[in-house]
């Protein structure tokens, strides 16, 4: 049996694009009922049209086939509602009345402009918990800055300390800043839920993505506040460990991370490399010396690692108790025996045009003794209109039709024609290839997740 910890909790989800949906996806994985609202005029465009299966947009309903949308919105219910109409607002308030949490990640002015700010919602449902997620926060002189994950990361200090000194500071390249914003919103919502269960009081939560990231480099900032020292980017060097580097392995673009925490591990590494003389070499005989001479040290180690396959080498090192990790590509992540055995990926059937695909957990923790809860596919546009409007809110089917005619709700979004991702351009980009395409990816996935993966 699966353990749905948040069963019975209802969340009105106004979030779009990446950060907000990440947060509500997490609540969905924990078993809450998430009702995602999209406007027929402004559907969740970007993720609905990114990563079509096999890079072919389906002819019909291409808005239901985007891979990014499926990863970000699995387990949620989807309805359409135009909040700029009076009737839309009225229905929205009815929905808030029977819900526990409202989450949104519009620009700070939007909800108040719609007349749907916290003070208004509180009148309808006094104990509602409302979470607003934005780049820099809902008040303050810069609150109206246009912010994406890039700006949030850049203004947090995290980017400044990331990357090699001889190259520019480096962004996360996988929207970590967005993840931080959405997931911090979720953490705050559950904190407020605990308080509400105890006292019956709701509240308003203001999450700034940039601040959510800053708290994750709190220890680095302490060096500034305690010692006035600004941390500069140092690649993979560690202040207390050496060797501590990402080393090249055999093959075109293959790497392994090795981190030596103590002298026992260092001696074991010297022995494995067949270079026992290094442990008595004054340049490397203790941690302090190794940190000082790490460039020389790294060259010696890389000569050795470059003779091995990265995964094979990790296994050799782990046998001797040496902390090491192959730097996995996304293909290797999907085929990783540990993740597969632990059930990290869930096979979700998306029906026509997409088929079954392995979808990664957004809430990876397991409840011991219970099966993991497998969410339903991300909602097709307006898929749950009838359930939410008729069953939950008691709107009759005739009325529903009328609302459709009046364009308060809709079943077909305003949506551009599907466009494939320019994989050719990406492979050629900057002359060296910004990524790889694996033409046999479905066969690979089938080996791990079953023969029917990707059969449409």
């Amino acid at each position: 049996m699966a353990y749905k910890i948040l069963e019975g909790i209802r969340v009105v989800d106004l979030t779009t694009v990446y950060a907000g949906p990440m947060g509500t996806r997490m609540l969905a994985d924990l078993g809450a009922e998430i009702i995602k609202i999209e406007s027929p005029n402004r559907p969740d465009l970007f993720t609905r049209m990114t990563a079509y299966p096999d890079n072919e947009p389906p002819e019909k309903e291409n808005w239901n086939a985007g891979g990014y949308f499926h990863f970000l919105n699995a387990g949620k219910l989807g309805i359409s509602l135009d909040l700029s109409t009076e009737k839309g607002k009225e229905i929205f308030k009815k929905l808030v009345k029977i819900s526990d949490i409202v989450m949104e990640n519009f620009s700070p002015r939007v909800m108040d402009n719609l007349g749907l700010g916290y003070e208004e919602l509180k009148k309808v449902k006094p104990d509602i918990i409302m979470v607003s997620m934005s780049g820099l926060g809902h008040y303050g002189p810069l609150r109206d800055y246009y912010m994406y994950m890039t700006g949030m990361e850049g203004m947090s200090g995290l980017t400044y300390i990331t990357g090699h000194p001889e190259y520019p500071p480096l962004l996360s390249n996988y929207a970590y800043g967005d993840w931080m914003l959405g997931v911090t919103g979720t953490a705050a919502a559950l904190t407020a839920l605990y308080y509400r269960k105890k006292t019956g009081k709701g509240q308003y939560i203001d999450v700034a993505g940039r601040e959510a990231i800053v708290v994750h480099i709190g220890d680095v900032i302490m060096d500034y506040t305690l010692n006035g020292r600004v941390k500069e980017r140092e690649g993979n060097a560690h202040p207390e460990m050496a060797p501590h580097e990402c080393y090249r392995c055999k093959g075109e673009d293959s790497w392994i991370n090795i981190a030596i925490e103590n002298e026992d591990q260092w001696k074991a590494l010297c022995k494995l490399m067949g270079k026992e003389e290094l442990k008595d070499d004054p340049r490397f005989s203790n941690m302090e010396a190794r940190i000082k001479n790490r460039d020389e040290l790294n060259k010696i180690i890389e000569e050795w690692t470059s003779q091995y396959d990265h995964i094979e080498l990790m296994e050799i090192l782990q046998k001797e108790g040496i902390p090491s990790g192959a730097v996995l590509t996304m293909k290797e992540v999907f085929l990783n025996p540990h993740l597969i055995q632990r059930g990290f990926f869930e096979v979700i059937d998306h029906g026509k045009d997409v088929g079954k695909r392995p979808i990664g957990k957004q809430m990876p923790a397991k409840f011991v003794g219970y099966e993991s809860y497998v969410p339903s596919r991300a909602p097709k546009f307006a898929q749950h209109n009838e359930y939410v409007f008729c069953e939950l809110l008691g709107i009759s089917k005739d009325e529903l039709k009328k609302l459709e005619e009046e364009k308060v709700i809709g079943t077909i979004p305003r949506f551009p024609p599907g466009r494939p991702t320019r994989l050719d351009l990406i492979q050629k980009q900057v002359g060296k290839g910004a990524g790889f395409v694996d033409p046999n990816y479905l066969e690979e996935l089938r080996k791990a997740f079953g023969e029917d993966i990707g059969k449409k």
Binding site: I5, L6, L30, A51, Y52, G67, L72, Y139, L142, Y145, T150, G151, G154, Y167, L170, S172, N173, Y174, A175, Y176, W179, V183, T184, A187, A188, T191, A192, Y194, K197, Q203, V207, A208, E211, H216, I221, Y224, C246, N257, I322, L328, M330, V333, P337, H338, L339, R342, R357, P364, A365, K366, G369, L423, L425, I426, K432, G433, G435, F436, V437, Y441
Partner: protein, 398 residues
């Protein structure tokens, strides 16, 4: 703003030695739970040996790492690896709601403190075990650090600038794999506690890292594509990258202003129809030409000058701020983001504050405890007399 504490009345026993579990416990403490850090006698928690140190003095009460990850907690010393210590721990478990632990899988069982053992004492108990790879699976006993778990989780391979896709990947700064796991740990255990459900939660740092890769997981499952940089920077490389300016770097993400607005920004309105500004394809094809157009102007202006002008043009450009520069940021000042507290060994300490602003139950500042500062208080609450506590002290149990 309210003044109540969201988690008042909740008791947490924090056995964590690493960053992830300690950060999880910190979140509980900062929102008002009664969090007791259980530390080994003598040396205390291993994080007390980690940099940065106040004035670089290597002292167990002066670690900034320990301070930051243990604000608002109480500290007791207790050797749970000895039978008598484990018995004291079990007494504390009676009144606890949550246990956070990060020992290697199987260790708690060996000490007679497995979830099953403890549930007999307290049936409502929630316990979260945060380990590098989880309680089972082929990597269960693998050794790891933040750095190696980050690479194995799949995040590291893409950590390269778009312009240099085949250089050595660089880890995200600080300890993001561990903080990520700590935050997920908080969410899961908070969910169980809010719903009044008991649970043993098994969380792996590697899986926490992989779960942050949402979109780029989709790239492989749907397209067979795996990237090694951020190739389709939505607006077309080299926009969205970080570029040098007069006093550092700025990030060039156009946003809703559209790339044409860059012409106005750099004082060359006549360039607004230049294909390099209008067409992503043209930029991607000849990034050096785009750079030649914009770099000279960037080099003459500071990151805040560029950002302020760009934001008025609805360009989402942003300054790359150093940890020190955060303290001059007008937004963080207005939002009173940084917290300040006094500490007996470090004078006044300033540190990063609330991850989120809750209107009724605001986050609270508070210092980290001295080693064993609350041993007496906590043990007498649990029913130990002064003589008993002294006897335990003599035996080295507390």
């Amino acid at each position: 703003m309210g003044e109540e504490k969201a988690l008042a009345g909740l008791r947490v026993l924090d056995l964590a030695n690493n960053i992830a579990g300690s950060y999880c416990g910190k979140l509980f403490a900062d929102f008002g739970a009664d969090v007791i850090k259980v530390e080994p006698p003598k040396d205390g928690n291993p994080l007390r040996k980690r940099v940065p140190f106040y004035k670089d003095e290597k002292d167990k009460e002066k670690s900034g790492m320990f301070f930051y990850l243990n604000t608002n907690k109480k500290s007791i010393t207790l050797d749970i690896t000895k039978k008598e210590g484990a018995d004291v721990f079990k007494k504390l478990v009676k009144d606890a709601n949550l246990i956070i632990e990060d020992f290697e899988p199987g260790k708690m069982k060996e000490l007679g403190l497995s979830y099953d053992d403890l549930k007999q004492i307290n049936p409502d108990l929630v316990m979260i075990s945060i380990t590098w790879f989880g309680q089972d699976g082929p990597y269960k006993d693998y050794k790891a650090t933040n750095f190696t778990a980050y690479g194995l989780g799949g995040a590291m391979y893409v950590m390269r600038p778009t312009k240099w896709p085949d250089i050595r990947p660089a880890v995200l700064g600080g300890y993001q794999a561990e903080y990520t796991a700590g935050l997920i740990g908080y969410i899961t255990s908070m969910a169980a506690l809010a719903m009044g459900k008991s649970a043993w939660i098994d969380l792996s740092v590697m899986e926490a890292v992989t779960s942050t890769l949402t979109g780029i997981m989709g790239d492989y499952a749907y397209l067979g594509f795996y990237r090694r940089t951020l190739p389709w920077a939505i607006h077309g490389f080299p926009t969205q990258e970080n570029y040098p300016c007069k006093d550092g770097y700025v990030n060039l993400t156009p946003g809703i202003g559209g790339t044409q607005a860059i012409a106005e920004l750099i004082g060359k309105p006549e360039e607004k129809d230049n294909p390099l500004l209008v067409k992503a394809g043209a930029r991607v094809k000849e990034p050096e030409k785009f750079e030649a157009l914009i770099l000279p102007w960037l080099k003459e202006h500071t990151k805040w000058e560029i950002t302020e002008k760009a934001q008025k043009l609805r360009l989402a450009f942003a300054p790359i701020l150093s940890p020190g520069e955060l303290f001059d940021d007008p937004q963080l000042k207005e939002r009173e983001f940084f917290a300040k507290v006094n500490h007996p060994e470090m004078d006044e300490v300033t540190y990063a504050g609330a991850p989120a602003k809750l209107s009724e139950t605001p986050w609270k500042e508070g210092r980290a405890p001295l080693l064993g500062e609350h041993t007496k208080e906590v043990l007498s609450q649990a029913g130990y007399s002064e003589d008993e506590i002294n006897a335990l002290k003599e035996k080295g149990i507390v």
